[in-house]
């Protein structure tokens, strides 16, 4: 298309040109987000990364305004959140966007990770894309947990107590880590202040990690559903071709978000945080938000330090994935056993979420143990064995 080909030759305007000769941000943007070539065969799972950015933007934008009205003091925090709901103009909407945004962010993050399992997006040359992205996961989880403490409801208070106890269970670093979190020996004002400061710091820090993740992606180029490098003829321009494909799915995503925020606020929210923190009364049935349930399920099902280490290990093991799976074939499509592994990982993850949401009966604790075992076995044993077997078969 001739008008497309001439785009790159069009000079920048006087102002943009003046800026670009001194600081080439305009040409950088044009190179990376206009002329940049992406595969033309991407399916809808490749839009999820963009949806994560939308969720993160909504979280940061709403979070800045919430922070202006929030007071990080145990005697005032609860009332300041009530004031946000009742008195601050549009405060109810900001808070719902912030809560719903977290659900959307984690839904997309978990899907994004699974897409990488499915299409081998973590393999060479994209190891750093994977490592920066995997680092985003614990950062988001920590930010979400700390943010959940801020309303200082029953779940916040007792969640902090459980987390401090779990941290205290860790060998060697436990005692120090627990005191660092609490700022003392018990849950009180220092932990709330620390949670607020660290929540804001992590929120801003996430932007830096996302920038690294996108930069690494743009060096290696996006993977595609075939898992093989595409010839130049099968790529399209980032803008307007790829963005053109992304716009309707993005509108669908925003519709889901609007439905969640405006028709189902607090749908997935834990009931108990509707009550102010009461140190004298331990409520029955404390549970975190759904996106923390897998980790909660493991801590609950495996007592002591082992449970805490295993919960941390659920994410930590992901960092090793590029070196666990050495098969040069990326996508699982057409590989029966790798496909079964992908399904198994999704089922194990779902099992942990459901177990964490269920009462701590022996049956549900057993489900959590089996699911955690499956997660580690599939990643640490099945993945290297399958990939080594495939590599041998390919060499033969």
């Amino acid at each position: 298309m001739p008008q497309r080909a001439s785009r790159a030759e069009v000079g920048l305007g006087p102002v943009a040109g003046w800026v670009d000769r001194r600081l080439p941000v305009v040409s950088l943007f044009r190179r990376e987000f206009v002329d940049y070539r992406v595969p033309g065969n991407l399916n809808w799972l490749w839009h999820v990364g963009g949806w994560i950015m939308l969720s993160l933007a909504a979280l940061i934008a709403s979070g800045v305004f919430l922070a202006l009205a929030y007071v990080d003091d145990p005697s005032l925090a609860w009332d300041s959140v009530r004031a946000i709901e009742l008195r601050v103009p549009w405060g109810w909407l900001l808070r719902s966007v912030h809560q719903g945004g977290a659900t959307l962010l984690f839904g997309c993050l978990y899907l994004h990770v699974w897409k990488s399992f499915r299409y081998g997006s973590f393999k060479a040359p994209r190891e750093l894309v994977w490592l920066t992205g995997t680092a985003l996961l614990p950062a988001c989880l920590a930010a979400a947990f700390l943010g959940y403490l801020l309303p200082w409801g029953q779940n916040s208070y007792w969640g902090a107590a459980i987390a401090a106890r779990a941290a205290g269970d860790l060998p060697l670093v436990g005692g120090g880590l627990s005191r660092l979190l609490l700022g003392g020996d018990s849950v009180g004002a220092p932990v709330l202040h620390r949670a607020f400061v660290c929540h804001l710091l992590l929120g801003a820090g996430l932007l830096g990690l996302v920038a690294l993740h996108v930069a690494a992606l743009h060096v290696a180029g996006p993977n595609n559903p075939t898992g093989r490098a595409l010839p130049a003829g099968e790529t399209i321009a980032f803008h307007p071709d790829h963005t053109g494909h992304a716009v309707l799915p993005a509108i669908g995503f925003l519709a889901v978000g609007a439905g969640l925020v405006l028709f189902l606020p607090g749908w997935l929210g834990a009931h108990l945080n509707a009550f102010p923190a009461d140190p004298a009364h331990t409520p029955a049935g404390i549970a975190p938000e759904w996106y923390l349930l897998p980790f909660y399920a493991v801590v609950r099902a495996v007592p002591g330090a082992a449970g805490v280490l295993l919960a941390l290990g659920l994410v930590a093991v992901l960092f090793a994935l590029p070196w666990l799976d050495r098969s040069p074939v990326r996508a699982s499509r057409g590989r029966r056993w790798m496909g079964a592994r992908d399904a198994g990982l999704a089922i194990a993850f779902g099992g942990l979420v459901v177990s964490g949401a269920s009462p701590a009966s022996p049956a549900w604790l057993a489900v959590a143990r089996v699911a955690a075992f499956a997660w580690f076995a599939l990643l640490l044993v099945a993945t290297p064995v399958l990939s080594a077997r495939e590599s041998r078969a390919n060499a033969a």
Binding site: R87, W92, F253, A258, G259
Partner: protein, 192 residues
């Protein structure tokens, strides 16, 4: 294009399904249940009066101010009348009552979140009576409506905005889809 259609269809289906969940499968005549639910200002006013008369002896509302009652959906003119009648001076004054937030917890636990089944259970609880206080069914319904409005303020505004947002996104999607079809016919569309 297939992916786009699937995404839009999933989005719309999710909203319809979600609306059904919010409405509660068990049919109820609570005005605030369901995707288009709203709190009726008159019921809220009666519920607040009932709360003060029969509940505030033991249960407080924290630092709730008269202005907060407007946020919960009470008629602003009626709230101004309350401020005058109580001699509170300003709408930012606390509505008073005991600061018994923890004591109110058993009552509120069933009213939150404002779902039809939780509301029905709370009405039964109030009608059965406790601590020597039992109220009629009509008053119990009004009090529960008032508590539910405190749990989910701005509900009518929220649902109105939800309808507007989904209508806007739907029209935007249709416009973009039509523009793309038109551009493709002229041979200037984005590459498939």
């Amino acid at each position: 294009m297939t992916a786009a259609r699937v995404a839009v269809a999933v989005g719309l289906a999710g909203c319809v399904w979600g609306g059904g969940v919010a409405g509660g499968a068990r049919a109820s005549d609570w005005g605030f249940a369901g995707p288009f639910g709203r709190f009726e200002p008159d019921a809220l006013g009666r519920g607040f009066a009932g709360f003060r008369h029969d509940c505030a002896g033991c249960h407080g509302l924290g630092r709730l101010s008269y202005r907060d009652l407007v946020g919960a959906g009470l008629d602003p003119e009626g709230v101004r009348g309350l401020v005058r009648r109580d001699g509170a001076g300003s709408a930012d004054a606390a509505v008073g009552g005991l600061d018994g937030r923890a004591a109110a917890a058993p009552l509120l636990v069933d009213a939150l979140p404002p779902r039809a089944d939780a509301a029905d259970a709370t009405v039964s609880f109030l009608v059965r009576g406790h601590d020597g206080v039992a109220v009629g069914r009509a008053e119990a319904r009004d009090v529960v409506t008032f508590l539910a409005a405190l749990a989910r303020p701005h509900l009518g505004e929220r649902h109105r905005l939800g309808v507007q947002a989904l209508a806007f996104l739907g029209m935007l999607a249709l416009t973009i889809a039509a523009a793309r079809r038109w551009a493709r016919r002229r041979g200037t569309g984005v590459r498939p």
